[in-house]
């Protein structure tokens, strides 16, 4: 593959590269000779003009793969970083996605690819939404406009997508573990490549990171861990009032690595001595100073040293020279063992609207690059998350024992609103789901009413705690499972397919799912009222349907184990669980045109099942279809099991269960994903038709 060096006459370099680095312009002109988008270097740094147009990126245009970066000079690399920034802002402004995490690691990405030889060397990005610059530099620049869309690039690293993506990461804190595994494999197979794991300070709040570091220290295999510290120890990176204060003692430790209290105390003491004695003791004071500095910078990093990693840092994560120097030196060492390089970056660096925004523009929809304003579409209804937050606040106002717990997802779970109202009753434990669950169990054991709001896919991490600490002991912890079912652009890593299965198989758990936002509010009230056993309810990503809300957003507890019939029909009954009931209603509506009038029921509860309702449906209909947006083993399985145990399958009923298929559904728009999964209203109606013996109509169903 020939390397195309841009020799366009429009490329203007106004200053010789050797001495003055003051004014260095990179521009490309159109036909008129006027530079369009300028990326220029000034004494204080690179300035990029973010206009709405595609930025001119002459150097980035020559880089398709990391190998094209090998011969770039230091100045070239800086220019490349600036161009990469401009490209990312432009690209994400058109597609939406994660912005500021990528901006913070531009220099790191450039340095890593320049120094190391991917794909032989492995770079593992923890929580890959920072991997946009990595994707651009590894042959996917031309497809960046498809990111997070159906059949486009994934928003996270994906092994299937490219050989440069060493490990898929969507849940955080896994990169060191994976990196260690790759390092050990390399050693056993006699290979010589390097393994680099990048992890953030937020991800460090998870236990798995320590498990991995502990093991790395013990095994002593060569491994480079880059700790990307941008002081954003909570996600999304803000409360309603502004940047979140770092959670927990860990971030303090990291801050201390930069400032060191002990050092300061020593200084204060030295000051005191100096004052009293004056004169030549100043020399002594200075020596103490030096000593202290040397001592403290070694022991200040004792957190990592204790675990067996050699600590280097802190390093300015936006200084390419520094990064390249360090990486080159470490790379050239024969036996460094596990090394931790602590770099300090700023999230959203280089794009002023992101730097200034309270949540640093972590996740954005399409926006205007000149000012960072997002094009948020207006919707008549709010997101389920918001209804959840409002309703929980109302419950908490009535009952002072209600508390809320989340794992670093204040914005995503809506609990930022709760936190604002009840700052002492909202607990953010950092990215630590296991701890969150047992923490809630402890609270419940002593009489509080904890609501654990954790995404369906993230609760997977704390599953043993749910079983052993909560369910086995029958403690009344309430789980609010947001992002249940398919989640759209985030893809399979965030897909909440399994929660019905893993919750409903637990003996003491009450499992319910609302079909609309009013039901959600009632279920929150129900959960608050269930005080003798654990309970959970799931709701999807997306907005409500527009039903009337209960007065003042305060729900009333439902009767446990009782569903409801939405539409009365005959011959065919569709029993839906959760928000998919709305899809069932749509299917029922479209079947009227074919002269078919189906019964639609909302099960509400998967555990305990509404036995009466199900028996009635079986006795009064010929066909029973259960529908849920969950994997096999969930609601449909429970209904089938119930029917078989009660001898109801021995008769005349035709039973079909519609569930998510037994494979991972790729990222895409929600509609595309539902189509792919076979759970759209069209599919439901077609199923009915084919069961009624009208297969031709089923096939032709629009």
């Amino acid at each position: 593959m020939a390397i195309h060096i841009s020799s366009s006459p429009f490329l203007m370099a106004r200053a010789p590269r050797t001495n003055t680095r003051r004014q260095f312009h990179v521009g490309a002109s159109g036909s008129g000779g006027e530079p369009k988008v300028m990326i220029r270097k000034e004494t204080s740094g690179w300035k990029i003009d973010f206009s709405g147009e595609k930025p001119a990126t002459p150097l980035l245009d020559t880089v398709n793969y990391p190998i094209h970066m090998k011969n770039l000079s230091s100045q070239d690399l800086e220019q490349l970083a600036a161009e990469l920034r401009a490209d990312i802002v432009y690209s994400v402004s058109k597609t939406g996605g994660h912005l500021s995490a990528s901006l913070g690691v531009v220099e790191l990405t450039v340095a890593l690819h320049h120094v190391f030889n991917t794909p032989e060397d492995k770079i593992i990005w923890d929580v890959g939404h920072q991997a946009y610059p990595h994707k651009i530099l590894t042959g996917r620049r031309s497809r960046m406009h498809t990111i997070r869309q159906t059949s486009g690039l994934a928003g996270f690293p994906k092994r299937d997508e490219s050989i440069y993506d060493a490990f898929g990461a969507g849940h955080s804190s896994t990169s060191i573990s994976a990196g260690l595994g790759m390092a050990v494999a390399r050693d056993l197979l006699g290979k010589k490549n390097h393994v680099i794991s990048v992890i953030g300070d937020g991800a460090m709040t998870a236990g798995q990171a320590y498990e991995a570091m502990n093991n790395s220290g013990y095994l002593d295999s060569n491994l480079i861990v880059v700790l990307n510290d941008n002081k954003q120890v909570s996600l999304p990176t803000a409360t309603l009032d502004g940047p979140a204060k770092p959670v927990g003692a860990l971030s303090k430790a990291l801050t201390q690595l930069q400032s060191s209290n002990k050092f300061r105390k020593l200084r204060e003491a030295a000051k005191g001595i100096t004052k009293h004695m004056g004169g030549p003791t100043h020399e002594v004071a200075a020596k103490v100073d030096e000593y202290a500095r040397g001592m403290i910078s070694a022991s200040g990093s004792s957190l990592f040293e204790e675990l067996g990693l050699y600590y280097i840092g802190p390093v300015d994560g936006h200084n390419l020279d520094d990064l390249v120097t360090i990486f080159q030196k470490v790379r050239s060492m024969p036996a460094p063992g596990p090394v931790l390089i602590h770099i300090v970056t700023e999230k959203g660096k280089g794009y002023p609207p992101a730097e200034a925004a309270p949540d640093k523009m972590h996740g954005v929809v399409k926006f205007d690059p000149t000012n960072g304003k997002q094009f948020k579409s207006k919707s008549p209804t709010l997101a389920y998350t918001q209804y959840f937050a409002e309703s929980l606040i109302k419950e908490a106002e009535a009952d002072s024992k209600i508390v809320a717990i989340h794992a670093a997802m204040g914005g995503g779970t809506g609990l930022n609103y709760f936190q604002k109202k009840f700052p002492d009753r909202c607990f953010d434990v950092g990215i630590a789901e296991q701890h969150a669950v047992t923490f809630a169990a402890g609270m419940a054991a002593e009489g509080l009413k904890p609501f654990c709001a954790i995404y369906s896919s993230f609760l997977q991490r704390g599953y043993d705690q749910v079983v052993h600490d909560v369910d086995l002991q029958k403690l009344p912890v309430r789980f609010a499972l947001d992002r249940a079912g398919l989640v759209g652009a985030d893809g399979p890593t965030h897909c909440g397919a399994f929660d019905i299965t893993y919750m409903a198989c637990l003996p003491n758990m009450i499992v319910m799912a609302p079909s609309d936002e009013a039901e959600l509010m009632h279920m929150i009230a129900t959960a608050a009222a269930i005080d003798d056993r654990p309970s959970c309810f799931r709701f999807p990503r997306g907005n409500g349907v527009g039903v009337d809300l209960p007065h003042e957003n305060k729900g009333t507890p439902l009767e446990i184990g009782k569903g409801r019939i939405m539409i009365e029909g005959y011959r065919v009954a569709i029993l839906g669980y959760g928000s998919i009931v709305q899809t069932c209603l749509k299917a029922a509506d479209s079947l009227k045109a074919h002269d078919i009038f189906v019964t639609v029921a909302d099960a509400r509860f998967c555990k305990p099942l509404d036995a009466e309702l199900i028996k009635r449906l079986v006795h009064e209909h010929e066909i029973l279809i259960t529908v849920e947006e969950g994997s096999v083993g969930g609601f449909g399985s429970h209904v089938a099991h119930f029917l078989s145990l009660n001898g109801l399958l021995d008769g005349n009923i035709k039973l079909r269960s519609m569930v998510l298929p037994d494979r991972y559904i790729d990222h895409g728009s929600p509609q595309d994903q539902i189509e792919e999964a076979g759970l759209s209203s069209r599919h439901i109606a077609a199923t009915v038709l084919s069961l009624l013996g009208r297969p031709k109509e089923a096939l032709r169903y629009k």
Partner: protein
């Protein structure tokens, strides 16, 4: 009064810090190479409005004693103070020291205090500025704090970091030379030795 500041080296060995050629100390008479804590004369630059303790010392005259003053002490809160505490303390002090409500004979002193309280609040209520301030406080530089020198301070801090990690990398290199000697029984060392042996053959 001579403000004797920590780490100062009057006539002693050079403090291991890179030189900075800024004129943030006082007026622009000559490019001063002295770092702020190495000042010998108590020049009170106009920039340093937050050094309330030195002003207080000079104003009241007499006592040579420096009052150690950080923004936290000024506001009367602990260094771990939350935003709420900072706001409350600020409001309380602002009400007390506002020039409009101060008795005429204490007006000047109160106004000075008010300005100091104002700056303290502005710094501590902004998380990033507060973080910067905390770092400098830890290194004993808080009394020279001023937002206008923020950029230079950052530069200086970064260069301190550079020295430190250069040392660390050198130490690692040294260690790694002897890391795989026979005494090291770790799994990684054993694998590296095996690989080294097999590549020699």
């Amino acid at each position: 009064m001579s403000a004797v500041l920590p780490g100062s080296n009057i006539g002693g060995a050079l403090h291991p810090c890179p030189e900075l050629s800024t004129t943030r100390i006082g007026g622009g008479d000559r490019p001063s190479r002295l770092l702020p804590w190495r000042r010998r004369q108590p020049r009170l630059p106009k920039l340093i409005s937050s050094a309330f303790k030195t002003k207080a010392a000079v104003g009241e005259g007499g006592l040579l004693e420096e009052k150690k003053g950080s923004f936290y002490e000024l506001l009367g809160i602990s260094e771990e103070g939350s935003l709420e505490e900072i706001k409350k303390a600020y409001k309380k002090m602002a009400r007390k020291y506002h020039p409009d409500v101060s008795p005429p004979d204490r007006a000047e002193e109160h106004t000075r205090r008010f300005i100091e309280v104002q700056e303290a609040y502005e710094t501590l209520s902004d998380p990033s500025r507060r973080a910067l301030y905390d770092r400098r406080l830890a290194r004993g530089l808080h009394f020279a704090f001023s937002t206008r020198t923020g950029f230079d301070e950052e530069l200086e801090e970064r260069s301190l970091w550079k020295n430190r990690w250069n040392d660390q990398v050198a130490e690692l290199k040294r260690r790694s030379m002897s890391k795989d000697s026979e005494e090291n029984l770790s799994w990684g060392a054993r694998m590296r030795r095996k690989r080294a042996e097999s590549s020699i053959e």
